[in-house]
């Protein structure tokens, strides 16, 4: 799709707002509808859109699969780590009350961290799944 100038310009304009909207859904997830799953999927959608228009190789250069693997694992670690941190400060697993000096702030931090972990993992896993499927067909055509 390299030759479609209209598509390329429109996509270039769209990608930044999509990414920002993903971040908005991510970080307002504790007050309004949204959260890690939704934000992760929206974020991944932006990367996939980029790959569709500019080609898989370009997208792989911008967001390498190896990085995605690490980020996906880090997201799970962040999620579980928040729970473990609560355990280390004297509460039960994922008891957000123990994350800060008072319960309200604790709940707030807990939700943000856990949702951020979910968002990281979801966006990187969805993108990885796309890379794997898209790359597979291409390799067959070449061989």
């Amino acid at each position: 799709m390299r030759e479609h100038t209209v598509l390329r310009v429109v996509v270039k304009l769209l990608i930044a707002p999509i990414l920002i909207f993903a971040l908005y859904v991510q970080f307002h997830g504790d007050y309004s509808p949204g959260g890690g799953f939704q934000a992760g999927v929206i974020f991944a959608a932006a990367i996939i859109l980029y790959a569709l228009i500019f080609g898989l190789a370009e997208a792989r250069r911008a967001v390498p699969p190896g990085v995605l693997r690490v980020i996906g694992a880090l997201g799970v670690l962040l999620y579980a780590g928040t729970g473990v941190y609560a355990m280390l400060s004297g509460g039960n697993f994922l008891d957000y009350d123990y994350l800060a000096h008072d319960a309200v702030h604790g709940q707030h931090y807990g939700l943000l961290l856990v949702e951020f972990g979910v968002g990281l993992t979801v966006s990187s896993v969805i993108t990885s799944v796309f890379y794997v499927f898209a790359g597979r067909g291409r390799r067959r055509e070449q061989s």
Partner: protein
Amino acid sequence: MSLATIADAFFGLFNYWIVIVLMMIGFYIVISHDNLVKKLIGLNLFQTSVFIFYISMGKIAGSTAPILTEGDEAVYAHPLPHVLILTAIVVGVATMALGLALVVRIHEAYGSIEEDDVLAADFETQDSEAATERARQRSAEARQQAGARDDADDGHRAGGERAADGHGDERT
């Protein structure tokens, strides 16, 4: 049963009827279709019907979305089924991704995603393997009897059989 009660059972519970219809369509596709991708689509439909089932369970007549607004006295839909189904949707997505990945690999290994073709290829290998095994069993028994008299030429015969056994089931 009067017509009114029948109509009520049908239209009053229409969401559950939709759930049942979707579930049966999905289930039927899983059972009847040969194409592995279509099977997965059926499976997904089957799961989706259960999601709708849960969500309609949480609906309260005249309720709004469970979002807190200032000074609000509204009746909320029950949010818990929504949360549960969010989890189940993620499970469904993971199942779908894994299933499709398996289909891609099956296509690479067998060159087809029709279950009949794949099974036929499997049965072929299985049959030839079984035939080889039977032959080996017989020759082993014969050797066992001959072995009492003479076990000199064993290695010779067995070597040939092992070479004949090497037909390709190994994935490339």
